[in-house]
């Protein structure tokens, strides 16, 4: 059967500045297919502040404003407030920030945005480090990863903290909808975006976006890596709708080393460190399964 599994219309133009095999660019292309042209977007400092092109070029066919690093949440509150003041309810307002701009410098503005209940969508594309500035570690960098600020030396070896659990922070705000997604599963990402457009209030996405440049991986592997991140439990795909967890993909587990060893940023890891990381992901996965089970309790109702 010959048919397209995602919308045909392209709202992102070619000729952009994304690196070869850029996951962040794939994520934007998919997101725009779901969001459509009745969308306004705010982008802080991140790779996507450069990808559209230098003035006067742009690959975006929707209104877009660039903003400062830490204000994505506040900026889309401002856009929504301005639209509301003009009675324009039927415009999608989207904040599009990287992981550093979300989990680190922008987390305060994100928190305020969610708590205010504005009808907006915040999408964090997660490539697990400050890639635009040249691969410095962020709060979203996973344990064991090489970055330019966690170099593999003789006294320090790699990133020693675990990846910050952004979803749990976001869900703690009791917002109506939050989800992880991956460029490996564009249909799932688009389906969830379409669903969230029907839900009033703040919505949040963390979309996994491989970065060949920063991960020292081959550009043709971006989708495969994103897939393996899901199958190894390194980045599970799930949604939290009104407090109810639903894991969207429960694939058979594949060996973590098959995912890590395709990336230069993990090549230095000794086997026991891979095992340590694998055990961590397994623990997180089990906790997620429990959360899914727990939150199905009907007596809880739509508690968020």
């Amino acid at each position: 059967m010959a048919k397209l599994t995602i919308p045909k219309e392209e709202i992102m133009s070619p000729g952009h500045m994304g690196c070869q095999g850029c996951g962040a660019t794939m994520a934007m292309r998919y997101a725009l297919k779901a969001l459509g042209k009745k969308t306004m977007i705010s982008v802080p400092a991140c790779c996507w502040a450069i990808i559209p092109g230098a003035w006067p070029n742009t690959c975006m066919q929707i209104p877009m404003q660039y903003t400062a690093f830490e204000v994505t949440g506040a900026s889309i509150s401002g856009i929504r407030a301005a639209l509301d003041s003009q009675g324009m309810q039927d415009v999608n307002v989207v904040g599009w920030a990287g992981d550093g701009g979300t989990v680190d410098i922008g987390i305060q503005a994100l928190s305020g945005m969610i708590e205010r209940g504005h009808n907006v969508i915040y999408i964090c594309y997660d490539n697990e480090a400050y890639m635009n500035t040249g691969i410095q570690r962020s709060g979203s960098t996973p344990y064991g990863a090489w970055t330019t600020t966690t170099p593999v030396g003789t006294t320090e070896y790699w990133e020693e903290g675990q990846k910050k659990n952004l979803m749990e922070i976001v869900v703690a705000h009791r917002l109506p909808y939050a989800a992880t997604a991956s460029v490996a599963y564009p249909e799932d990402f688009i389906k969830k975006l379409n669903k969230c457009l029907e839900i009033p209030g703040p919505k949040f996405f963390q979309v996994y976006a491989p970065c060949p440049t920063g991960w020292k991986s081959s550009p043709e592997l971006s989708m495969d890596l994103a897939r393996k991140a899901v199958t190894t439990r390194a980045f599970p795909i799930y949604e939290v709708e009104h407090g109810k967890y639903k894991i969207n993909r429960k694939p058979e587990k594949t060996p973590l080393s098959e995912y890590l060893m395709l990336q230069g940023r993990f090549k230095h890891l000794p086997e026991k460190e891979v095992e340590f990381l694998d055990a961590h992901y397994e623990k997180e996965w089990k906790a997620l399964l429990k959360l899914e089970e727990m939150t199905q309790d009907e007596s809880l109702g739509n508690f968020m």
Partner: protein
């Protein structure tokens, strides 16, 4: 209608009269009552606006900028550390050419913690590309807001502007204020029409990367717009007088300067104290005057040159100090006069930092000192921390 209100109430009423579509603010002493009054106006339905209660001043400015990018009128208010936190976004507002208007309640920078008046918070925002107006009284706070929107939203300007009011001396002190009729304000200040905005029908990108081959040109356009502000302020001040009967002297507010031999120059509420002393000294036959620095950016260098040509000495009073040099106004005035043939002595008096009271007797002492300089043509020293407790403070400074 005449009402007795605080500076903060005057600011809140000013906001109501100007009908911003979006207000975004965060509380900080002594600005707090502004955000409270606005909340009351929104709650009682007398102000129809989207009131975004953000989690920081930085976000307040970010929300105003984004809203302004959609072509709507915006307002915020802050003070001191809040203004400093906004600093990054202040540059964004001017660079993006958005006419955001704000009231800043001038308050000292800590440590030591101080909630009282000091102008350093404003001075630290000098080069952000904002228009700065220092109010002298509560009436001017309100009137300046109406004028500021008119100036900022002019298509030859399109820059943000802030109105400064002194902490407590204005923010929490009640004065009689004439509240203009809404219909007159509407006539004076029509709805804001953006030159370009975020629009689904014309999807554009705003504020992107510009390569070095054109960055300078964009900055030059800000410089040109700021130059346009000079005549716009004078024009709007005259228009305002026609409709409301009040004028603030345009760029530099001169009081009894026509035949003055020596004058004091400075900003804020101290100007009112100086005004009173000028009257007293004039009765004694002394030819003194006040030049109130109403507009700090754009800087009224032409007006200051003109004034300096007609006097023998200028004393600068300022509630701020630029560490490592001298008072910030002094440095600017010196710069304004250097490339002229004017060679009069100018003395800098640092006064009332962190809300220390500046009374008429202090201004008398400063005028006495300045009289000696004017008569002798000699400057004993360029800079004086007036009233500084160094263990041997002269009686007149107590």
């Amino acid at each position: 209608m005449r009402k007795v209100v605080t500076g903060n109430m005057a600011a809140a009423i000013g906001a109501k009269l100007c009908k911003p579509d979006v207000i975004s603010a965060y509380p900080i002493t002594p600005q707090t009552t502004i955000v409270e009054y606005i909340a009351d106006f929104v709650a009682d339905g007398s102000l129809k606006t989207q009131y975004v209660k953000v989690e920081s001043e930085h976000s307040a400015m970010a929300a105003c900028i984004s809203a302004s990018n959609l072509g709507v009128r915006t307002f915020t208010a802050t003070s001191s550390h809040g203004l400093l936190l906004m600093h990054e976004m202040l540059g964004w507002a001017s660079g993006a050419r958005l006419p955001v208007v704000m009231v800043n309640v001038n308050r000292a920078i800590g440590p030591p913690w101080s909630v009282w008046v000091d102008h350093l918070d404003a001075i630290m925002q000098r080069d952000t590309g904002w228009i700065h107006i220092f109010a002298e009284n509560n009436q001017e706070v309100l009137d300046s807001m109406i004028m500021m929107y008119k100036i900022c939203e002019d298509h030859d300007v399109l820059l943000p502007g802030m109105i400064h009011e002194d902490a407590f001396y204005l923010s929490h002190t009640s004065e009689p204020v004439d509240i203009p009729d809404q219909s007159k304000v509407d006539e004076f200040l029509p709805k804001y029409k953006a030159l370009v905005k975020m629009d689904l029908d014309n999807p554009l990108g705003f504020g992107s990367l510009v390569m070095p081959d054109n960055y300078m040109e964009f900055r030059y356009k800000i410089a040109l717009a700021m130059d346009n502000v000079r005549e716009k302020i004078i024009e709007v001040d005259a228009d305002f007088k026609r409709l409301f009967g009040r004028s603030y002297g345009g760029m530099l507010d001169l009081y009894r300067c026509e035949d003055a031999e020596y004058v004091l120059l400075g900003a804020g509420t101290t100007a009112s104290t100086v005004r009173e002393v000028v009257d007293e000294l004039r009765e004694q036959g002394k030819k003194v005057g006040l030049a109130r620095l109403r507009v700090f950016r754009p800087f009224p260098y032409e007006e200051i040159r003109k004034l300096a040509r007609s006097v023998k000495a200028i004393g600068v009073f300022e509630r701020a100090f630029a560490f490592g040099y001298m008072g910030p106004f002094m440095a600017e005035i010196g710069g304004a006069l250097y490339n002229t043939d004017i060679r009069i002595p100018i003395k800098d008096y640092i006064i009332g930092l962190g809300g220390r009271d500046v009374r008429t007797k202090h201004i008398h002492a400063i005028f006495n000192d300045l009289e000696k300089i004017a008569n002798s043509g000699k400057l004993d020293k360029e800079l004086k921390w007036f009233g500084l407790n160094d263990g041997n403070r002269p009686e007149e400074e107590m």
